[in-house]
Symmetry: D2
């Protein structure tokens, strides 16, 4: 089957359009109800907190693909100026201040629901050109996800469980791999879960340098995992790779076909470029792969994505 | 007493320098131990989540003071381009992408430990010019706070408890006001707490327009609350105002004297421009003013502050 | 007549569509031929050079209208860092470096041909959506004007000639005012000229503060000067105001109707926010109102406008 | 001789400190007097204009060295939005607008006098930390060069004259090469000249890709040309390379030693990354290597460098 037909078939089978009403702006985040969230908080036992964000700086992986750069962080005022007496403040007061310029998806991020379209259709069947204009996403801007993204996190360390540590580039993670990993961890996936899939790709980048991390070959979710992503009713999926799905993609000449199904049709929240290393080591150590996860996007009005610093708390 | 003497006296009385060793980079966040965090998670009962972030966009309060602007969010690609067929992707794939340029402290934020100095000294007594250069904060960059800022949040709604809803500009919140508010709420402040003080100033800005919200007169913490901020061993304090402390400041010709004590000397984490409205309304409704709070800064390497979307979960 | 009809009538009467072929990307800049340029250079007699640019910095007039901010200029490295020994260079080398973020039309500027459309049509009759996408102006980007904008400059100091120094806000400069001013100066307008019209509005802003300089009331060209702008075959017109044409506009509820005629239909190069003060004082002194003018835009690929530092050389 | 000693010796021999008074902010641009400028304008014969700027866009050579990125140009509004009817303007008005974020020295540029220091000293002997702080260059900001940079341009096409088209990387251009090239061109260098040295490095980059254009090996001025740069009393020198001087530098472990002499000690205006290709082809064709050159920097207040679009007019 070619990509276009496969996408159309998957879109038809797994569509959530209308599931939460015509005005929905949350997609699968609707699966996290208060009950799920309260239960998830009870997973905190030791009180240990893990940041799942990569560093945001010029030493990042971006190389200009889709005009994405690494963050440029510059100082408006520094300790040098303060000590030098240049700041003009009274009573020995001194200060430092700074600015940043960056693509919203340059590092650890959420894809917003307005990030990807299928044949001109955005999430819930809306015309893409009525949703995202030069003023930003007028309907499903990331600000709508400001509050709800807190719930049960589950780590599926496919790198460790299947790959002996790290999966090779081009490794397509199927439903079977996901199930086997969950089985090995002794954890089950539930409705409303925020699922973190570790491939080991980021561990390799830390060890060997970024190389083609941003857009190059990588392990990742198989296109054929779309059914699992739909059936499990998870709220979100996040990986330690640039693009969540396997690269090269599984169809000749294709570009991110799984995105084209899961964002506009499932309304699935997708996270990319997460750092799952410390969390994964801890989970491997204590055998507990579930935790409380909060990953609130920065509510940039009309944004189609957001940098995020997710916290996994065990 | 003049500002300089008052600052010196408070600095001497309330200094935490050396308390967590010479190499400390966390300040009062050290007060949040695993035990405090695990206990805080047990405060989640209903599973309701509140975002405490203001919107990040051009319609913000900044007017250029200290060269701070509002966020500029622009699109690299839109739904219009996708529908128009300009994107060059295969199989009907379309996408939107965006960038942002903003001061790190333009909206809801944490002040980093490298944000304020006293007579050329940064947190823990370090020379400011050895800490924050044009390359950023080399020692106490906000990235060090990526993981730990999750714990017990307490709302002290001084606006409601003392002001009948909102405090007037220039109202200095003293230890007595804080104690009275806590008493009225039936909540006690504990070591490691993340204390949110609502003045009502942001409610007024939402109703009447920003006006002088950024840098103008405002209610806020009294300089004389420094002892309380120290003695209670709280991990952080955050307000719904631009600058956390009362403005005009309580000394003639002064500029943010309480900052000059609490950041470099206490190592206190200070949050500003938080939106406490929805949370406060809920707390007023159910009488419960404690909750689980996660407020992980974006780990921008070397930053002296960070935008943040804090989540309060009850 | 209402604005829409007046625009349609003027567009029909003064259209230059097709005048320089279907592929034209220069508009009225075509009027500057080598002969005009060489003759203009011979206007240089004393060898004195005037910059016609306003300062580019945070203290500019922008207030957010159309998401335009003032330039944000930040340092990557400074003399403080160099003296402090933080830069890591050998043999006593030190350096400073800087970055800027700004709208391309925040200060002294040229409007590109892709800046304004009339009923979805861009310069030369092209569909606007085929010209300017999220990737920028694909056809008439400002880079096409990188070389040719050098020729005969003429100052029409309407402020001095008609207004006794400065024109009041809302003053509509008509063909008669332009002719009277040229007559008073003893200068004639020729094909290919780069005409600088001084209203005095910027002088007032320098004296009294920016106020509503960006977008508020101002003197400027009357809508009814469109015929003159067409008939004279000038290459460009520039003013010392934010928006070139009179404001409030001369039709109820209108927005920049003269732009809508002269940019898409005449292909006229329009300059705004120029500082004509020093030049005008010199011209008033020596009575010579013609000069060599170079005003090369920064060739930002696909830009619809450009900052510029025009030089008038007498 | 090691770099440090060679720099000290050259600095002592070629210093212009005090030559134009203690308050000077122009350096060698002082050599362009009205007489030089008027004479230069008389070099315009054919009326042909050449832009010497490279394109400013994401496809530039920067790779992050010294945190320099390529320009990021994004749209605030487009023709797509206009056609789609999203802009809210009356009477069929439509518009496009854009913003840019870039290092001031990312592409064709002038180095300001505050760009380079020698042992903590800036131009004219000033302490670097009194000149360039986080607020920018407080003394010699590029805005001081807004008006005067217009005069006699001379092209020395060393690539053609010595290299048969292009010089190889690491080729150090000495005084002898410069003299031989001028001789071959039949042109003499005069006081106040703006000298453009073509190596052919940019031609190669256009043909073969940027590669290591930004900071890698390149032909360029020899350290030992400092005497010539001083003695000729030229106002400025510009090359088609990233860094003006030969790379690798001529001393082991050195970094841009000629910069360290000519900017702080001579006060020489240095241009980099110019596109001399079209001009050079024309000069090779007609044998005329002198022209009128205007190269007005963008007057960004306090900037230590500026993008520029130089115009050579013959």
């Amino acid at each position: 089957m070619n990509a276009e037909d496969a996408i159309a078939e998957a879109a038809a089978k797994y569509s959530n359009w209308g599931r939460w009403g015509a005005g929905d702006v949350l997609g699968t985040v609707n699966f996290i109800g208060p009950g799920e969230r309260a239960a998830a908080a009870r997973l905190v036992r030791r009180g240990v907190s893990f940041s799942l964000a990569q560093p945001f700086d010029m030493n990042g992986p971006q190389r200009g693909l889709r005009r994405r750069t690494n963050p440029v962080h510059t100082m408006l005022d520094t300790g040098l100026d303060a000590v030098h007496g240049d700041q003009g403040f009274p009573h020995g007061f001194g200060g430092a201040d700074d600015v940043i310029a960056m693509p919203l998806q340059c590092s650890t991020q959420w894809d917003g629901l307005g990030h990807i379209f299928d044949h001109g259709r955005a999430w819930n069947g809306r015309p893409a050109d009525r949703v995202v204009t030069s003023e930003g996403d007028q309907v499903t801007g990331i600000e709508h996800l400001a509050a709800p993204v807190a719930g049960r996190g589950v780590l599926l360390d496919v790198g460790r469980a299947i790959g002996g540590g790290e999966l090779p580039d081009g490794f397509a993670i199927t439903e079977e791999h996901l199930a086997a990993t969950a089985g090995a961890h002794g954890v089950e996936i539930r409705r409303g879960d925020l699922v973190c899939v570790r491939t080991g790709r980021f561990a390799r980048a830390k060890r060997e340098g970024w190389g083609e991390y941003a857009g190059g070959p990588a392990p990742g979710l198989s296109f054929w995992s779309a059914g699992w992503l739909h059936r499990t009713e998870i709220a979100a999926i996040a990986t330690d790779t640039w693009g969540f799905e396997v690269r090269p993609n599984e169809f000749d000449g294709a570009f991110q076909p799984l995105h084209q199904v899961v964002i506009p049709h499932l309304g699935l929240l997708v996270g990319e470029m997460w750092d799952l290393e410390a969390l994964a080591a801890d989970c491997a150590g204590d055998g507990v792969h579930e935790f409380f996860l909060t990953a609130a996007p920065l509510p940039v009005t009309g944004a189609v994505g957001s940098p995020v610093n997710p916290l996994a708390i065990k």
